[in-house]
Symmetry: C2
Subunit: 366 residues, 2 copies
Amino acid sequence: MSLPYTILILFIFSTSSSYLIPLAHSKIARLGISSKTLKNEPDGSTQKVDESNLKMYYFNQTLDHFTFTPESYMTFQQRYAIDSTHWGGAKANAPILAFLGEESSLDSDLAAIGFLRDNGPRLNALLVYIEHRYYGETMPFGSAEEALKNASTLGYLNAAQALADYAAILLHVKEKYSTNHSPIIVIGGSYGGMLAAWFRLKYPHIALGALASSAPLLYFEDTRPKFGYYYIVTKVFKEASERCYNTIRNSWIEIDRVAGKPNGLSILSKQFKTCAPLNGSFDIKDFLDTIYAEAVQYNRGPNFWVAKVCNAINANPPNRRYNLLDRIFAGVVALVGNRTCYDTKMFAQPTNNNIAWRWQVCKFYF
Amino acid sequence: MSLPYTILILFIFSTSSSYLIPLAHSKIARLGISSKTLKNEPDGSTQKVDESNLKMYYFNQTLDHFTFTPESYMTFQQRYAIDSTHWGGAKANAPILAFLGEESSLDSDLAAIGFLRDNGPRLNALLVYIEHRYYGETMPFGSAEEALKNASTLGYLNAAQALADYAAILLHVKEKYSTNHSPIIVIGGSYGGMLAAWFRLKYPHIALGALASSAPLLYFEDTRPKFGYYYIVTKVFKEASERCYNTIRNSWIEIDRVAGKPNGLSILSKQFKTCAPLNGSFDIKDFLDTIYAEAVQYNRGPNFWVAKVCNAINANPPNRRYNLLDRIFAGVVALVGNRTCYDTKMFAQPTNNNIAWRWQVCKFYF
């Protein structure tokens, strides 16, 4: 299962261009079915989902599906959830909709994924949600601290192993519900969508179909456009507002110009109300390009982030004349909210998910 | 890649029945494209094949394709051979025929496999033969002694890893011959035939087709007939000669009867000219059932072993009256040849291939 992986390398190593929003040098591919940083709901309220129909289970999962050294027989508890409320039963060969978790906790997935809830009742389907190994509660080696420690423990984190996990759990679920002929449709978004598509290819005897939502399956090697990801980000801003696009485009040079002044970094720090002093202009540029990219990537109702940021950037309050960086900062406030200070490293927090995902990205494979 | 594996368990644990040739208790599934014990050519001459067109190569192969612990990055030299004599070239998109080695040395495969040699010229094909990891010269950890030592080193021997090996080498060959559009057809026999079929399923982007010759792909779990292998062995003997079949069938009880006599084992030992004293009647029965099974499994020209053994068993030399075990012994001589003594353990020699194959069988997977 050696798959091309240039999507990740692209995100990490591409050089910036004046026609594109410059690329952070330490950035991790932004996959995932919901923004980890931008709030999904208006007024910052978290989306509430009725989970009363869900039962949580833990499956005794094999650490290494492809090796048979003595260590490989270790197991861990893999979390999955089942909603059998609408299940038409084994006798009716009612279908099974299986959500394949991606690089996040099952808890956040359950809040974000509507497809199964929306379609389950109509199809009389059994709904299964499975958490990805090394995310959320599904942590080998007993704890996140141990699992995410080093290459010896992280070595078992990759897509091939994750697919084999899903195969084992789905076969277990079929047995548990005594259903031999219920078609299984696997479903995932983003990286999880890739997993769904790959699962259908690799385990055709288990899944009859796959829904690969927002899955950049063809974004590899020769099939991808150069600077493809940021090309789209730039394009979306340009289409939203040519003026906004130009302001952002000009701001990169302006940031560098200010940073080059004596005491420039502290001027920038004041301008952007950063919580900590800046080490260089890239601190601000990293922060901004991540904001723009997430705004585009999760630019859906009810927020429509791109319009929000561009409205703020384009606004000219009557009482004083905004300079270029004032406008950019207004865009930040529109997106991140009013804060006493702004943590430019907020997207690079070493959460467990980030550590695990960084491993997957840096190993150049899915 | 967790596949059912009852074919192997069947071979190992099935109990004997008076209607079937009894099953050895320590037997390993007899797969493989040529008999390891019966001579393939008349008069015991080894088949000579012109290998002057073949070039041998060694590929720097990854030990573990599915894990990323520091140890998994170890590599070993995997042997493969290429015959480019008939190759129509990359520009013509001429096909690549790739033989996927099974549980034996590439040397014996090259002698036994005619399909590529026979069809290569007509198809203007590039011919590639790849040796299976842990067989022949393709030995991880530097030597067979190290590789076959224990579960820590043997742990990397399984079909999933072997398939990934083949994928890596075939991609390498495509690159080496600068051919993007040459269709690859993978070919294998017996266990190698399973590998070919599985390769087509698992790596559809690499192989356009597979020839799975004599591959018991459906001989798993619920799809197999009970005692299927020995049922066929028995049936073939019965169809060849009812009299021969009855003689063999009666011989099991006769062997046990003689063994039960005072000094019975040494009578049996003399009767079958065994090289070493017998530990029990099962020594002889193991030896015989393996001979019968191999006779059926490799019952092809120019030898037609089953007719050979039955002719000998049915023969009644005029000068003295053969008893039942005399006849059985005549069958042994017809198959194994005239020897000063017969080693009843000859099929259980712990050759490197046997050790590796026993591991694969006992791990219950392919």
